[in-house]
């Protein structure tokens, strides 16, 4: 659907494609972990071009471009299977909105350059979808906050430099009104990370905080003011979270697998592939609607939820069909569709479950009551 973009945007897309041709070996989109050093190298290369700060204000070293450029970049990176967008950009959005001058001067240049990386420290063993119920405490003692508690299910935490920690600074039971955000060194006295190997060959991490001291100047935004900041940062990022490029590539991967196994000429398979092709276009239309609204400065909460549900369930569907059509060959370890299936199982959970997304759509899109 390139005609929805202008000539300059399409020129940028060509530039991105030419750049990515040099990273064809990376193939880390579905699984960053084992390839982290090369992923980090890619992020530095993107940073060197200013592409990690495409839409940041020029006053903060960004290129001041519209959100559509960010979509195009991560859409192409996804199609090339190079990597996923770094979580550091979420931190950057919050710093741009709510950081003080010293924090911006300290962190933004290194995020922009792709030199430092973050994992999100949100979820806990007892607080997943109900994030406002999290228990990890950050108690102010002089010039530091002392953090204690357990975080769990953090992606990339074993590789990154820093955690973007959400912790309770208010009273127990203060829900979303008692949370604050902190930048915490991954290597800190009292902080222990335990890998939890995942189906796709990567790992999530459990992070135990035992009286971890975090300097006061590492708190970003007002004390107890994290909930609004997280919502704002999410709004700034929605348009790049689920680009259609991933699905386009998945579909071609499945067709390639079926060709290898001699199944691609089966009329039922061909019809099924064509149905998936239609669904990929539906996903692209939903994704571009989010871009359009973001670009116009309008809320895209419902549209982004719709895009996430549709995109993530479709990538599972594409992978599942490969097993349905590919038969026993799809079970052989190393079959190209196997990682697709194993990884896609995470997509409907991470970043807000499908159930939560449907709740958002029901409440805000259809005006229905009830909790998600």
């Amino acid at each position: 659907m390139n005609r929805l973009f202008g000539a300059e945007e399409e020129a940028f897309r060509r530039e991105v494609r030419a750049f990515l041709a040099g990273w064809a070996d990376l193939d880390a989109y579905l699984c960053h972990g084992p390839k982290w050093p090369r992923v980090a190298e890619l992020f530095r290369a993107l940073g060197a071009r200013g592409w990690l700060s495409l839409a940041w204000p020029k006053s903060h070293g960004g290129l001041g471009l519209p959100p559509s450029y960010e979509y195009i970049l991560w859409d192409e990176v996804a199609f090339a299977r190079a990597a996923r967008n770094p979580l550091a950009t979420i931190v950057a959005r919050t710093l741009l909105r709510a950081g003080d001058d010293a924090q911006r001067a300290r962190w933004l240049p290194r995020i922009r350059a792709g030199e430092i990386h973050f994992a999100l420290g949100y979820s806990e063993p007892e607080a997943g979808s109900d994030l406002a119920g999290l228990r990890t405490r950050a108690v102010r003692r002089g010039d530091v906050y002392v953090v204690s508690g357990d975080k769990c299910w953090q992606s990339y935490a074993g590789h990154v430099d820093l955690l973007w920690l959400l912790a309770r600074t208010g009273e127990p039971g203060s829900r979303g009104g008692g949370l604050s955000l902190f930048i915490v060194d991954r290597v800190s006295p009292g902080l222990t990370l335990t890998p939890l190997p995942t189906l796709d060959g990567d790992a999530l991490y459990a992070c135990r905080f035992e009286e971890v001291e975090v300097p006061v100047d590492r708190r970003v935004g007002p004390e107890h003011g994290a909930w609004q900041l997280m919502g704002d940062a999410l709004a700034d990022e929605r348009h790049i979270q689920f680009p259609a490029g991933r699905l386009k590539r998945d579909l071609l991967e499945v067709e390639g697998f079926l060709r290898e196994t001699g199944r691609e000429r089966d009329p039922l398979v061909q019809r099924g592939l064509a149905e998936l092709a239609v669904a990929v276009l539906e996903a692209e239309a939903l994704a571009l609607r989010v871009v359009e609204l973001t670009q116009a400065g309008r809320s895209a909460v419902v549209e982004a939820a719709a895009n996430k549900v549709f995109h993530t369930e479709l990538c599972q569907e594409i992978a599942a069909r490969a097993f349905e059509w590919g038969g026993p060959e799809s079970l052989v370890r190393g079959a190209r569709v196997q990682l697709l299936w194993l990884q896609s199982l995470w997509e409907t959970i991470g970043g807000g479950t499908s159930e939560v997304m449907r709740g958002v759509i029901a409440r805000q899109g259809l005006g229905l009551g009830g909790r998600s």
């Binding site: 659907m1 390139n2 005609r3 929805l4 973009f5 202008g6 945007e9 519209p66 559509s68 386009k248 579909l251 071609l252 067709e255 061909q270 019809r271 592939l273 064509a274 149905e275 092709a277 239609v278 669904a279 990929v280 276009l281 539906e282 996903a283 239309a285 939903l286 571009l288 609607r289 871009v291 359009e292 670009q295 116009a296 549209e303 719709a306 549900v309 549709f310 159930e355 449907r358 709740g359 759509i361 029901a362 899109g365 259809l366 005006g367 229905l368 009551g369 009830g370 998600s372």
Partner: protein, 295 residues
């Protein structure tokens, strides 16, 4: 990025005008020029989609898609009476032909090709689910009409917009019912078993709407992928509308299966539009090729 997925002021005005005028019968509809947009070879696909969104939401009966296709296949002299509503057209694949008993112009579709045609013998009237007068007829095929792919694309685009808008209307009615109907002491929309399937229908309708508008924009730009996008939009809207109205039936409960209830006018129109023979294999082939499959 070009804001093509949002109806701009001009297109929104077109939709509003058609919505206001579509209760006046077929001639009044023709007078609005709603179905002729883009038929003269100029851009107009976005206007066509805007018009059909209004017609779909109102579940308007009549040979809408057929007229859109015919106006893009026939030469100028033959278009005028059809565009004015004076002449009706039957477009399809015999023997069962939509609107054949009322038609004075016949076009036969065969896969992705279109031919002039004349009826041989009597036309046997058949009433369909939508209440439209269709007919069984034997056609004598005449000359092939050029421009069938583009005409078919316009027909699919119109059909997509009709279906998506009718599906959205059914969904809105169901949501309104779920907000107000109480059981077990609370609105039924508070139950996830009711709310989440409606959310799923919302997602699919939104996708179909956006795809139809994107396809229209590409058509107006003369983009080579416009026909594939129109094909995908039609396939998408067909599924989305059928799913949405089925969910509406369920949400309304017993009211949803009564003749006088709010769902029936929409469900029969959606089923009728979804059953139009606009070369489904060809549409899937276009979508698959666009995705790079089969290379």
């Amino acid at each position: 990025m070009i804001a093509a997925l949002e109806l701009d002021g001009e297109r929104a005005a077109v939709r509003d005008a058609v919505a206001a005028g579509c209760g006046g019968g077929w001639a009044a509809l023709a007078e609005l020029g709603a179905l002729a947009a883009g038929a003269d070879g100029e851009s107009g696909a976005c206007e066509l989609v805007a018009s059909c969104e209004a017609l779909g939401a109102a579940a308007v009966a009549g040979p809408i898609v057929e007229t859109v296709i015919a106006l893009r296949l026939l030469p100028d002299a033959e278009r005028a009476p059809i565009a004015s509503g004076a002449a009706r057209v039957a477009v399809g694949t015999p023997p069962l032909l939509p609107f054949a008993p009322e038609a004075s112009v016949f076009i036969e579709l065969d896969g992705g090709r279109a031919f002039r045609a004349e009826p041989r013998g009597a036309i046997h009237a058949v009433e369909t689910l939508g209440g439209d007068a269709w007919g069984r007829v034997e056609l004598v095929r005449g000359a092939e009409l050029p421009g069938a792919p583009a005409a078919l694309a316009a027909g699919r685009l119109a059909c997509a917009a009709l279906l998506a808008a009718a599906g959205r209307r059914a969904l809105e009615a169901a949501a309104e019912h779920a907000r107000t109907r109480k059981q077990f002491g609370r609105a039924i929309g508070e139950f996830q078993a009711v709310a989440h399937p409606l959310a799923d229908a919302f997602v699919r309708i939104a996708a179909a709407e956006m795809l139809a508008r994107a396809a229209a924009h590409h058509a107006d730009q003369g983009a080579p992928e416009a026909e594939a996008l129109a094909a995908a939009a039609w396939l998408s809207a067909r599924r989305a509308a059928l799913g949405a109205v089925r969910r509406a039936h369920q949400t309304f409960g017993a009211v949803g299966i009564t003749l006088e209830g709010p769902v029936f006018p929409l469900t029969r129109r959606i089923r009728q539009w979804a059953s139009l023979a606009l070369d489904e294999p060809g549409a899937f082939a276009l979508a698959a090729a666009h995705a790079g499959l089969g290379r």
